[in-house]
Each structure stands twice: as structure tokens, then as C-alpha cells.
């Protein structure tokens, strides 16, 4: 009897998971298509398909092929990267505030990228490499600074928030030395923007996701076990050090590549996991749903930022407006009791 109840309950939760993932997948695909079709000029789906297949369509080849396609693709990929990186840190440290964009890892990548472009004048690939190295470096520094008989989530978060503030002021300083005509580019490093995206920015993110995404997913089950606490996870056969190392490298890599391409799109990494957890229900693995939620957030926010208001806002401004109230809510709640994801 218990056996039937167990199997039935599991079946019910698996069905909910499949349903949620399908709905999210369809929404992401729909938003991607909308981002390609709509704009100042509307292009029907068959024009879009023809452009993607490489045919020349007057007007559409430039507007869709050169402007919208790389932009929407980067929105999708960066959203996935932020969603995966964010939920990995939040789960690993069992603290919803421990997202890379709160604890300074995104800020590190963003400061390094701004420095590389504005001050050093590096190429796109060199900038990416520089941003990734900085992201990893900052992660390492935060980890070492918060280490005292193991790493406590709250201490790491506080040190990370301080680190983020320092790095953001470094970014502001670098930007103040930038020339006037770089302003559009400059905005990218402050809040994150997809304006003027080309394939040159999109392709490195796609490659990073192809390499690091599977690595992260391969550790999905171990990450899932870490929710029970380090001791319990280890007792259930998780190799803690190896798992942590792989998770950190993959998550920081994804965040840094995405940040190098479009700046630290505010709060996407921070919001994707908790939203995914809310809709998929407790006790489920969060990696894939968070990736989809992240993509959805960026696609919606970029579309809204471009067309919903009389002025065009960069995507990071829109996500920032969405994310800030949630951050305040979490800070209040964590102050009252130890919160966890």
C-alpha cells in the first residue's frame, strides 16, 4: 500500500515537472520568435525562417539577420547562463542571496571587461578571457576571505556584497575615463545591455554554454544532494571537494562569459532560481527550470525595454526594476530568520 502511494506521489510530481518544463520551453521559444518578428517593422515567420536558412530577403536580411537574430540569441543564451550560474551558487551555499550577481562575481567579470575594453583596448575574445579569469579570481578571493573552519553561507554573502561594491566603483572609475563616443558601450558594463549585439559577442557565449553546460548538468544530481547539507551529502556518496570545484568552475565560467558579452544583466542570476523553485514545486532539481526561467526573463525584459516604453531602456534596467524589490524582501526575511533556497 505504501509502495503504491510512493509510486503515485512520485508520478504526480514527475508529471508536474514535465508540464512545467514543457510550458517554460514553449514560452521561451515563443518569446524568441516574437523578438525576431516584432519591432519597428513586422516580419512574418516565413521571412524569419528564410533569413535563418541564408536566403536574401529584402529588408529582413539586415533587420532580422544582422540586428535581431544575434540580439535575441544572445538574450536567450545569456539568460540560460545567468540562470544556471545563479541557481548553482544559491543551492551550493544554501542561501538565496549567494547569487553571483550579489556576491561580486559578476561585478568582477564586468569590471575586468570594462578595463580590458576601455583601458587596454583588447579584442573581444581577449576581453572574454580576461573577464573569466577575473570572475574566477574574485570567486577565489571571496572563498578564501570567508574561510574559517569551512565556509558559512552568510559570511560569504556579506564579504561578497562588500566585494561587489568595491568592484562596481572600480568599473565606474574605468568608465569615467572612457571617451564620449563609447557611451553606448559603457552602459553595457553598468547594468547590462543587448544594444548593438553582433555575432562576435554571441558566439563565445554559445561555445561556453556548449562546453560548461553539460559539465554543470553532469553535477546536477550532486548539487541536488548538497541541499541536505555537506555532511549528509557526503554520507550519501557525494565527493564534496571535487563536486564543489566542478560546480564553481562551470558556474563562474558561464556567468563570466555571459557578462563579458552583455554586461551583468541585473538580478537575472539572482531571480531565476527562486522563481523556478516556486513554479516547479519543492524537492525537484532546479538547474534546467532555472535556465529556462533565466532565458525567459532576459527575452521578456529586453523586448519590454525596447518597445514597451516611449524611451528605449537597456535590458538590465528592466530586470533591475523587477529584481530590486525581491532583494529587499529577502534581506528583510533573512534578517528575521536564517533563510534558505
Amino acid at each position: 500500500m505504501t509502495l503504491e502511494a510512493v509510486a503515485r506521489g512520485r508520478g504526480r510530481r514527475a508529471l508536474r515537472r514535465r508540464t512545467v518544463l514543457t510550458v517554460l520551453g514553449v514560452l521561451v521559444a515563443a518569446l524568441y520568435a516574437i523578438n525576431l518578428m516584432f519591432g519597428k517593422t513586422f516580419y512574418p515567420p516565413d521571412d524569419i525562417v528564410r533569413v535563418i536558412l541564408g536566403e536574401r530577403v529584402p529588408g529582413a536580411t539586415f533587420t532580422v539577420g544582422t540586428l535581431r537574430l544575434p540580439r535575441a540569441t544572445l538574450a536567450l543564451l545569456a539568460g540560460v547562463c545567468f540562470g544556471l550560474g545563479g541557481v548553482t551558487f544559491q543551492t551550493m551555499l544554501r542561501n538565496p542571496l549567494a547569487s553571483p550577481d550579489i556576491i561580486g562575481i559578476s561585478s568582477g567579470a564586468s569590471a575586468a571587461a570594462a578595463f580590458a575594453i576601455v583601458t587596454l583596448g583588447l579584442s573581444e575574445s581577449a576581453t572574454s578571457a580576461f573577464a573569466i579569469a577575473a570572475g574566477l579570481g574574485v570567486a577565489l578571493i571571496i572563498y578564501l576571505l570567508s574561510f574559517r573552519d569551512g565556509v558559512a553561507g552568510t559570511r560569504l554573502v556579506l564579504i561578497g556584497i562588500g566585494m561587489a561594491a568595491m568592484l562596481e566603483s572600480a568599473t565606474s572609475y574605468v568608465l569615467s575615463t572612457a571617451s564620449q563616443w563609447d557611451l553606448q558601450e559603457v552602459l553595457r558594463w553598468l547594468t547590462g545591455s543587448l544594444n548593438g549585439t553582433t555575432w562576435g559577442e554571441t558566439v563565445p557565449v554559445a561555445i561556453a554554454l556548449l562546453l560548461l553546460g553539460p559539465l554543470l548538468l553532469s553535477q546536477g544530481r550532486n548539487l541536488f544532494m548538497l541541499q541536505l547539507g555537506d555532511d549528509m551529502a557526503a554520507a550519501l556518496g557525494v565527493r564534496l571537494e571535487l563536486t564543489r570545484l566542478l560546480l564553481i568552475v562551470a558556474a563562474v565560467g558561464l556567468i563570466a562569459f555571459a557578462t563579458a558579452a552583455c554586461g551583468p544583466i541585473a538580478f537575472v542570476a539572482f531571480l531565476a532560481g527562486p522563481i523556478a523553485a516556486r513554479i516547479i514545486g519543492p524537492g525537484a532539481s532546479l538547474l534546467v527550470p532555472s535556465a529556462l526561467v533565466g532565458a525567459l526573463l532576459v527575452l521578456v525584459a529586453d523586448f519590454a525595454g525596447q518597445y514597451a516604453f516611449s524611451i528605449r531602456y537597456p535590458v538590465g534596467v528592466v530586470t533591475g526594476v523587477l529584481g530590486a524589490p525581491y532583494l529587499i524582501y529577502l534581506l528583510i526575511r533573512t534578517n528575521r530568520a536564517g533563510g534558505s533556497l
Binding site: 510512493v6 506521489g9 512520485r10 544530481r221 547539507g229 549528509m232 550519501l236 565527493r239 534558505s340
Partner: protein, 270 residues
């Protein structure tokens, strides 16, 4: 399932930073029996248990499971033979009892393998054994302390290990739930021959439920053996620095320790 495994601690030294907690400890664990470890606060009980389940690397010596060093064994292989219930495991927010117990199946699953009927069976058996079957779809957060502890034990049972280590499984439970948990572990030992090693605070419950009692003091074994031999007035004084009377427990025939404090003691005893 009923295979008996030898678990042995040899010349084990453990510590954190420059503090040595356990020094050069030799300790055989009798297979197929219930062993309770008692001792004063901070005497290294939990540290010893953590090292036996390879959560803490030894400074010297080793922990041997069937003659193999646990710190060299593949993590999942060890987790199929030896389970640990730590002192304060964390239940993810909102998780259902069945899901939590299902996590105990991790060492039996491969990276890409799907959930099997065997996993369902193990979970259901564990729920039945701990009388938590009717809680299967409830959220763990909503349960009482006693229910929650039974659920954690169910998770350890779903792991299907022949050796089970428990770090203070009865802490924070009222007396009826303490007895319930210890009865449950005794059932498990009797029906499956599971070797059980637990750290316990309550000396009298330890003496009643354990086949083998280990009294730790200052990082070494003060005494080890059947509770009747170990729990003596001298032992309590040496281990806890406390005067006591030890009498025969009229309900079980095991030793029963009565502490002698400075107050409320008849003058004939002091």
C-alpha cells in the same frame, strides 16, 4: 542485507587545526550489534563518528571497513555499505517525506540512470519500517520533531546500508519519542542484522539499548564493553567528573545511573 561487516578504528588521531581531539585511538566495533558512544561534551564523540564515515580525514591511523581504509574507498561504494545520519541534516524547503527519503537512494543510482521500481520499493519499505508511510506526501517542514527524526532514519534505511552511524539521534526529542527511535533502531538491528553505532547523551538509555558501550574521555577510550561492565560509579566519575550511584534498573536489569548533585540527596549517601 544481513552481511556482517567489520568496522575498526586503528591508531586514529583526529583534530581541527592545532587542536587534537582524538589521539591514537584503537577501537573495534562489534559487527551486527548496537554500539553506543557516550562521553562528556566536546570529548570527540561526534568527531570520531564523522571520521568513521570519512567526513574528516585522520591525522594518523585509519578507519577500516572489512579491512579497507574508508578514506580510500570510492565515495558511492562506501555509501552503499555505511550510512551516517548527522546531527543536524537540512531538509530542503517544502520537500515531501517520500522525496526526502528517496534521496537516500543516491549511492545506488548512476549519473544518468532513471528512478527504478527497486528504488520505489526501498523507499516504501523504509517508510513502513519507521511507521511514516501515511506521511509520504506531507511536507517535512510540517512534521513534529519526533516524526521528522523518524523520516531522517527512513532516509538512512532507504540507503540500505549494513552499517549505520547516528550522531545523537534522540536529541531534541521528548522521552516517548526517544524511546520510540531507539526501539526502531533495535528492531532494525534484530530484523536485518544492521550494525548500529550511535552517539547518545542519555547514559541510561545508552546502557539499556546498547549491546556494547564505549565511554570516551579526553580523546581516548576510558572503558568499552557490555553496559553492565562499563557503566560504573568510577566510570561516571572519570568520564563526567560526577559522583553517582549506579543501581540495577528494575525494568531491564541493565545499570541505571543516578547522579549525586549538591542538593536533594539524602545525607546517608553523601
Amino acid at each position: 542485507m544481513t552481511a556482517e561487516h567489520s568496522l575498526q578504528v586503528e591508531n586514529l588521531t583526529l583534530g581541527y587545526k592545532d587542536r587534537v581531539v582524538i589521539s591514537e585511538l584503537d577501537l573495534p566495533i562489534p559487527p551486527g550489534k548496537i554500539t553506543a558512544i557516550v562521553g562528556a561534551n566536546a570529548c570527540g564523540k561526534s568527531t570520531l563518528l564523522r571520521s568513521m564515515s570519512r567526513l574528516l580525514a585522520p591525522r594518523t591511523g585509519h578507519v577500516l571497513l572489512d579491512g579497507r581504509q574508508v578514506h580510500r574507498m570510492p565515495a558511492k561504494e562506501l555509501a552503499r555499505t555505511l550510512g551516517l545520519l548527522p546531527q543536524s541534516p537540512i531538509a530542503p524547503e517544502g520537500i515531501t517525506v517520500a522525496d526526502l527519503v528517496g534521496r537516500g537512494r543516491n549511492p545506488h543510482q548512476r549519473m544518468l540512470s532513471r528512478w527504478s521500481a527497486q528504488d520505489d520499493l526501498a523507499v516504501a519499505t523504509a517508510l513502513d519500517a519507521t511507521h511514516t508511510g501515511d506521511l509520504a506526501d506531507r511536507a517535512v517542514d510540517e512534521l513534529s520533531g519526533g516524526q521528522r527524526q523518524r523520516v531522517w532514519i527512513a532516509m538512512a534505511l532507504a540507503q540500505q546500508t549494513d552499517v549505520l552511524l547516528l550522531d545523537e539521534p534522540t536529541t531534541f526529542l521528548d522521552v516517548s519519542h526517544q524511546v520510540e527511535v531507539l526501539d526502531l533502531l533495535t528492531d532494525l538491528n534484530a530484523s536485518r542484522g544492521t550494525t548500529i553505532v550511535m552517539v547518545l547523551h542519555d547514559l541510561n538509555l545508552a546502557a539499556r539499548y546498547a549491546d556494547h558501550l564505549i565511554a570516551l574521555a579526553d580523546g581516548t577510550v576510558h572503558a568499552a564493553g557490555p553496559p553492565g561492565d562499563v557503566l560504573t560509579e568510577d566510570c561516571v566519575r572519570a568520564v563526567f567528573g560526577l559522583d553517582s550511584r549506579v543501581i540495577e534498573d528494575p525494568t531491564s536489569g541493565k545499570p541505571l545511573m543516578l547522579p549525586l548533585g549538591r542538593h536533594h540527596v539524602s545525607s546517608t549517601l553523601t
